[in-house]
Symmetry: C2
Subunit: 338 residues, 2 copies
Amino acid sequence: MSDEPSKGRAPSIRDVARLAGVSHQTVSRVLNHHPSIRPETKQRVLDVMEQVQYQPNRAARALVTSRSHTIGILSSQSTQYGPASSITAIEAAAREAGYWVSTANIDASDDRSVADGLAHLLAQGVEGLVVIAPQARVFDTLAQRSIEVPYVSLQSTGQDPDHTLSVDQIAGARLATRHLIELGHRNIYHLTGPQDWIEAEARMRGFLDEMSASDVPTTAPILGDWTADFGYYAGRELLTVRDFTAIFSSNDQMALGLMHAIRDAGLEIPRDVSIVGFDDIPEAAHFWPPLTTVRQDFAELGRRCVALLLGGDPAAAEHRDAIVPELVVRASTGRPAF
Amino acid sequence: MSDEPSKGRAPSIRDVARLAGVSHQTVSRVLNHHPSIRPETKQRVLDVMEQVQYQPNRAARALVTSRSHTIGILSSQSTQYGPASSITAIEAAAREAGYWVSTANIDASDDRSVADGLAHLLAQGVEGLVVIAPQARVFDTLAQRSIEVPYVSLQSTGQDPDHTLSVDQIAGARLATRHLIELGHRNIYHLTGPQDWIEAEARMRGFLDEMSASDVPTTAPILGDWTADFGYYAGRELLTVRDFTAIFSSNDQMALGLMHAIRDAGLEIPRDVSIVGFDDIPEAAHFWPPLTTVRQDFAELGRRCVALLLGGDPAAAEHRDAIVPELVVRASTGRPAF
DNA sequence: GCGAGGCGTGTGACCGTGCACATGCCTGCC
DNA sequence: GGCAGGCATGTGCACGGTCACACGCCTCGC
């Protein structure tokens, strides 16, 4: 009567095999959808599995196949909308493909933290790595450790194209800049992200490219740090000069801070100053005034990322193209006053 | 001279043992900091490990110890600031404790998605589970599956206190409401989160408690969905009535949308309407006007969460107390005009 | 002087799964 | 009729660790 010894451990394929009256190998074959199994045998095994609530042991499987079925995400700034959206999409796509996702959040300004996070993920035996910490220094660390697993870096246009997937930052920045120029602005400042962010640099390049293509003289970009706080601070500094009619901020948060500072100074947007952001976070439409910005499809980025990592090479080529961002014109931009 | 066979596989403890001239068990002891090892033996083993770049195989260890050293996070809305901050903190604390973190993002409004995500994590053999999807229905699903592993739910005040860790939402909501009442407001609306969010309900209860404690008549709360878009929509609807002088929004995003709608109607904040939010997202200080809101320490929540999950029971008691939120008064609230 | 006990180390089994190979049976072809 | 070949299934080992136990040596106490 004692069908099931159940010595405290979860049932294994051998337990299932015994109860189903087959060998453990047959159970294994059922699990792996081997073609040569008689339907009735298969059904018997499946019934027993259901009955004893059999769960394959991931560790055992990983041990024998040397495959962890895990993707690692090395991410900084994962509280921000962009990275968070991509992570969500990556996780969903990976799960659908039967993969697990393990994350390591790092402080990208600290080499030690980067190395630790990376070591942590590699120690786990991840089969693929997604890096969402597009700082140049992270790449140096990656290069040093001569990564054995395939990896993709998100949002790092221009660096090592084999391992990069990104929204075309340069094109996006040019869209934003052209929009301002077409409105008639000639004195345009650019507020960049942190200096070592590849993404920030690409947006800056796009800005500069478009400015020079249109023969508009440029001023030196201002180095920011992505935060609304910095945008506010930078805005206050800029307003002591006031030799501009528009500012292109390389993300929406800094644009928010900028607008705050501009209003504090008694100026109106866009009458006195036009502002363009970047990212189109969900709140941007409700800023005051609603922000003109560049939309990036972060979720699509995440999905392609997994496809690239797990898929065969043929699919890769198709997914490798940079995603084209889109300008969303709202109320924070207009023609310059005079 | 061929020190190292290196048959394609990574070196195992047996490889290390051979090169160090000891048994594999001695290597294992070095790995596990067993006290009875002669320092010179230990050093020899460590040297070889360094030399061959030995990495313990996690799967093998997990197999024999039946311990995955992994914590699972089941999360919805993980693109939002609050959950994302907690996740980051959880990951950091877990990593420090030698644990890995695996995430599953779910659509909490879809029972199937919840069950899938949960099954995914459990199939991995997680040793602890953090649920950051504080909808009542998620708890039903959890209860149905009779979870074997310890789990903690974030932000779900009042539900099953043994498995809950949260910022005291009721206290926070009372702070916000009292602030408005003390300013002289008597006609106050409350914009809640989605109906089945426990968090939203707690904030609503805090609002109602404080209103009745102060003998202020209340109107029925308006059911929202956390988004700025909804806040805007709700604001427009509310303004057709205009029988209020203040609104307490149960998060910052909806407050942003509200302010957008109010300004669109030609009203001024806080002269015509006072607004209070909840969360204190980093952008709130730069809204127009800067938002009065209730600050929650999400990171602390994440840290305590891991302590509770991994730590022994003694520590648990101390960490179990709800974290007390803090009112941050900025410029979106003032005395009513009337 | 001898037994107890601790220290440092080694031996072999075992965890749950997949793989290589073996086996028996049935079918079909020359 | 004999043999090739495919199907359905079984046997034993390997994966890389840990655990239980054993062993030899040395120290210490009576």
